[in-house]
């Protein structure tokens, strides 16, 4: 018995679930009454199941290797990662960790070395001479001289204490140092700093300005020092 032409294509679409609900109900009703269409439906279902049951090719994983290589290449380009990194791809996490560690260690070494150099520019072993280390740390410049306790103190007797104080300051500045003076009635106190290599010249210069007397004994003038000079008027 033949199937009805009016239903044939829809019969096939009905198997595939591609009909709207109204048309699907009409097909179902028609099938109850039409033996020819029931036979055709059985035949359609049979070939469909045969096709579904047919063996399928199994694709090897390596089939998509070129495409995966392309994914990795484009991914690297997108991230801006250089091609040489692909050489390290298998062990990149460990390698990058080691690289980061080395970079941090190098940075720390540079910072520590920099600090050590600038805290001890003359390369002396500060631990052997704590007094000079302290002096180095406290080396005063400008107004801070006033608050610094002098390393060397002395008295300079001159004809005019104000003029004498000015000359002491001028001498210190001429030798690359600095000076700060405090004047009181009848005397002036000048706090001076001069570079260590110029300290001998400064003391000699003081002798040329008046009568100089070191009241702290005879300290060795090594390293930065503050010299407190009380300039008094000679009677």
């Amino acid at each position: 018995m033949m199937m009805c032409d009016a239903w044939s294509e829809d019969l096939s679409a009905w198997i595939d679930g591609e009909l709207d609900s109204r048309r699907a109900r009409e097909i179902a009703q028609h099938l109850q009454a039409c033996e020819g269409c029931r036979g055709a439906l059985a035949g359609f279902q049979h070939v469909t199941l045969l096709m579904k049951a047919a063996p399928r090719p199994r694709a090897s994983r390596h089939l998509t290797d070129p495409a995966m290589a392309l994914v990795r290449k484009l991914s690297r380009e997108r991230r801006g990662t250089p091609a040489w990194r692909s050489l390290f791809e298998p062990f990149w996490p460990k390698f990058s960790l080691a690289l980061s560690g080395a970079a941090i260690a190098s940075l720390l070494a540079i910072i520590v070395g920099h600090n050590y150099f600038f805290s001890n520019p003359y390369g002396r072993d500060l631990t052997d001479n704590p007094r000079q280390e302290s002096a180095a740390a406290e080396a005063p410049v400008g107004p801070s001289i006033q608050s610094t306790k002098p390393t060397i103190s002395g008295e300079l007797a001159v004809a005019d204490s104000a003029v004498g104080a000015d000359r002491v300051a001028t001498l210190a500045r001429a030798l690359g140092g600095d000076a700060y003076s405090v004047s009181t009635a009848g005397s002036s106190t000048v706090f001076v700093t001069v570079p260590p290599t110029k300290q001998g010249a400064f003391i000699n210069g003081l002798s040329g300005l008046g009568k100089w007397q070191n009241t702290t004994g005879a300290p060795s003038l090594i390293g930065p020092a503050t010299i407190g000079i009380t300039v008094v008027q000679h009677p």
Partner: protein, 190 residues
């Protein structure tokens, strides 16, 4: 946008950023289906594998062009269809590989729904398989393609229309014709 659409758009974003895991998942999921469809169209295993490989390479390169109007699977099958028809045009042939030409070690059982009888029961003897294979080999390639995409790849008529570039009614007719002719040949074989 519901959760599924959000998940899809996030996954698509991963594909666009060439996320290795996302692409590995796509390739694992679709490579056998794409290979099967190519094999049904051109019939030569080696050529079908080359085309299948090229489908994924083109997919990786051109994912920005995927607008998400159809599924990713449909999009990849569309690329495969174009490549197969180009191959057919260049080579001037369209051989169909018979099921018995595919080595058994390269096969895996068809994925059947639980309510469908087992492959052995349905496909029965090697004789019936051979008859189906013969019927498919003589079937018009466009009918074979539509029927394969519907039954094996379980694609909707709308998706098949996208892949093959014909109206949905044409797809409906092609699938009907394929069923009709295959059934006729199998009946004649008995």
């Amino acid at each position: 946008m519901d959760r599924e659409e959000t998940a899809d758009s996030l996954f698509l974003e991963r594909l666009r950023s060439r996320d290795e895991r996302a692409w590995a998942r796509v390739m694992r999921e679709y490579r056998s289906g794409i290979l099967g469809a190519c094999l049904r169209r051109i019939g030569n295993r080696e050529d079908a594998e080359d085309i299948c490989s090229e489908v994924f390479s083109r997919g990786v390169r051109g994912i920005e062009g995927f607008r998400g109007e159809a599924s990713l699977k449909t999009w990849l099958h569309t690329i495969a269809a174009h490549l197969c028809w180009s191959h057919h045009t260049v080579r001037g042939r369209s051989n169909h590989m018979g099921l018995d030409q595919i080595p058994q070690r390269e096969m895996e059982g068809g994925a059947l729904n639980s309510e469908i009888p087992s492959p052995d029961r349905v496909a029965g003897s090697a004789e019936i398989r051979s008859a189906l294979d013969h019927a498919l080999a003589t079937l018009d390639p466009v009918l074979r393609e539509a029927f394969h995409l519907r039954v094996v790849e379980e694609m909707s008529y709308d998706d098949i229309a996208r892949v093959t570039g014909v109206p949905m009614n044409t797809v409906k007719t092609r699938i009907f014709r394929a069923r009709e002719r295959l059934q006729k040949q199998l009946v004649e074989h008995r």
